[in-house]
């Protein structure tokens, strides 16, 4: 049965190529808020004579819950890496075979055989980034390439730190800080993780999302946050520097995938192919200030992004970065209880 289904989808994919030059109609994209370049959409609409509608979500779980419930009307969704296997497992994604699309040759080989979608049968890269440290160097001049900035903060930074309110990112950094591995269920280690977080939280100012505004303005002096936002902060205030936690930092990538119950599959495939074009991928990045996974897009990028220290990972820190796998339900349960303890 599965085999049959696969051949069927492959056949549809082939048909899609045949019809590629011409497709009218609609496309419904369900994406993170403030993440889709309007210029890119305009270009796509004009190129293919398609009316694109964008709808926002603000968390992976909201998007998952909504699509699983059905009746949503979306064609394309952009889940984070650790969520893609869940979407596939729950049977929500169409095996669109982007690896057979014309522009797939542009995808950086680094992003082809990824653990969440080996060989890219379901999804194509949208943007990727890391969660790292941003510090106002006027306030603190020491080493910033460490998670100690927010877990054992130096006196200058106490009470001025903002940490992303993201369970996975924060637990990852803390587990790594104590030398553990992601998805560990080692109770002794996790006890240390919890106690450290409970203690460190008293030295934080906030766990909030509004960094690009408050880091440059001085409300925060240090953050543990996404690199694109910290880059935007630096553009507003030159004293902001970015640090890669040497103990380990999470890498994230959001990927574009087509929903199984999509109504506009052909247009969705056109869109997938469209964003693998280097020039278009550069538009994606220029808007949200994160890297994409397409070779050759650099030459179309704005000048300030080509050399940005937030986007170009120094060789010595490359190894410390890791994609977060989806942990088993038991481990997720354990982690969310620790997280509740931290936030009580």
């Amino acid at each position: 049965m599965r085999q049959k289904l696969r051949t069927a989808t492959a056949a549809t994919a082939l048909l899609a190529f045949a019809g590629m030059a011409h497709a009218d109609g609609e496309l419904n994209i369900y994406n993170w808020g403030d993440y889709t370049s309007p210029e890119l959409i305009k270009k796509f609409e004009q190129a293919h004579n398609v009316k694109v509608t964008i709808t926002d979500y603000d968390s992976n779980d909201t998007a998952l819950a909504k699509v699983r419930a059905g009746g949503h009307g979306f064609d394309i969704v952009v889940p984070s890496a650790n969520y893609v296997p869940i979407w596939v497992k729950e049977g929500l994604l169409l095996e669109a075979r982007p690896d057979q699309m014309e522009n797939f040759k542009n995808v950086d080989p680094r992003w082809v055989d990824v653990h969440w979608d080996p060989g890219r049968h379901y999804s194509v890269p949208w943007q990727w980034g890391v969660t790292g440290i941003g510090v106002n160097t006027k306030v603190y001049g020491g080493d910033i390439n460490t998670s100690a900035i927010f877990l054992d903060p130096p006196a200058e930074l106490v009470g001025k730190i903002n940490v992303a309110p993201e369970m996975n990112d924060v637990l990852y950094a803390t587990i790594k800080y104590f030398g553990g591995d992601w998805c560990t269920d080692d109770k002794e280690l996790l006890r240390k993780v919890r106690d450290k977080l409970v203690e460190a939280k008293t030295k934080w100012l906030a766990m909030d999302y509004s960094v690009t505004d408050k880091l440059p303005a001085g409300d925060y002096s240090a953050v543990y946050y996404w690199n694109g936002a910290i880059m935007r902060s630096r553009l507003a205030n030159q004293d902001i520097k970015f640090g890669y936690p040497k103990e380990g930092y999470p890498i994230f990538m959001d990927s574009v995938a087509i929903l199984k119950d999509a109504k506009n599959v052909e247009n969705a495939k056109l869109f997938m192919n469209f964003i693998m074009d280097p020039e278009n991928a550069a538009m994606v990045s220029a808007f949200a200030k994160y890297a994409n996974g397409i070779k050759g897009s650099e030459q179309f990028m704005p000048e300030d992004m080509k050399t940005a220290p937030e986007l170009v990972v120094p060789a010595e820190f490359e190894k410390a970065g890791e994609f977060l796998e989806a942990c088993s339900p038991e481990v997720v349960d354990l982690y969310s209880r620790i997280w509740t303890d931290v936030q009580k």
């Binding site: 369900y30 808020g33 403030d34 964008i54 709808t55 926002d56 979500y57 949503h72 505004d213």
Partner: protein, 268 residues
Amino acid sequence: MASGRTFDLRSQPAFSFVALFTFFMLYLPIAALVMYAFNAGSSMAVWEGVSLRWFYEAAGNERVQEAALRSAVIAMFAALTATVAATMAAIATTRTRPYRGLTFKYAFINQPLMVPEIVTAVALLIVFSRIKVWTGYSGLGYLVAAHSAFCIPFAYLPIRARLENMDLSLETAAADLYATKWQAFSHVTLPLLRPGIIAGFMLAFVISLDDVVITEFVKSGGQDTLPTYMLGQLRRETTPEINAIAVAFLLFSVVLVTAFFFVNRRKV
């Protein structure tokens, strides 16, 4: 006031002071909001001079316009539905001897107030998406229905409070003069009830405009309202564009409500 007292017996000077302070506090954040809408810089914290830049950006942003319009349409329909239903229900549940089911009605009507939004949101997601799949209809009707439901108690409470405090003698007089029930209602009860109904409608409208969580879960493709659009932005970055949108929206509402008030007054 014609009495020979040395003070106005209605006035409680301390109250007036608190009231004026309250009005000041109500407008202080709005003033800040309006001010930063005119900020030349892209920050909501650092003032860089006056400019209309963000109004142009917002005006050029199609998604914002569509979302704002959608919010207003949903709020209008939901508030209307809720106010009509709430007025009828208020009349049916006041000024009567207790009858079977009266307490049940109170509890039922006020129930949406007792549920945290997120709970209703998830529950509605589960139920409405089934209906969407069955019927194939996925329009704004679901949002209007959901908004109407949680707006009803907000419209109901002021209307009921008004009814309970109302002077019965005028209606009795109307009945004595052989007015039919409907005549008595439309010529006596309704005009007396009007302040309550207006308060109810305005509350309902505002509550509908405000809603983030339920809308986020119930919306289908292409149904972002202004709040859900902004919630999406919250995670990334906020610029004075949001202020500009808010100011435009504020202006729109003020014009609308002012017009509403004037039309309303002329009839008196």
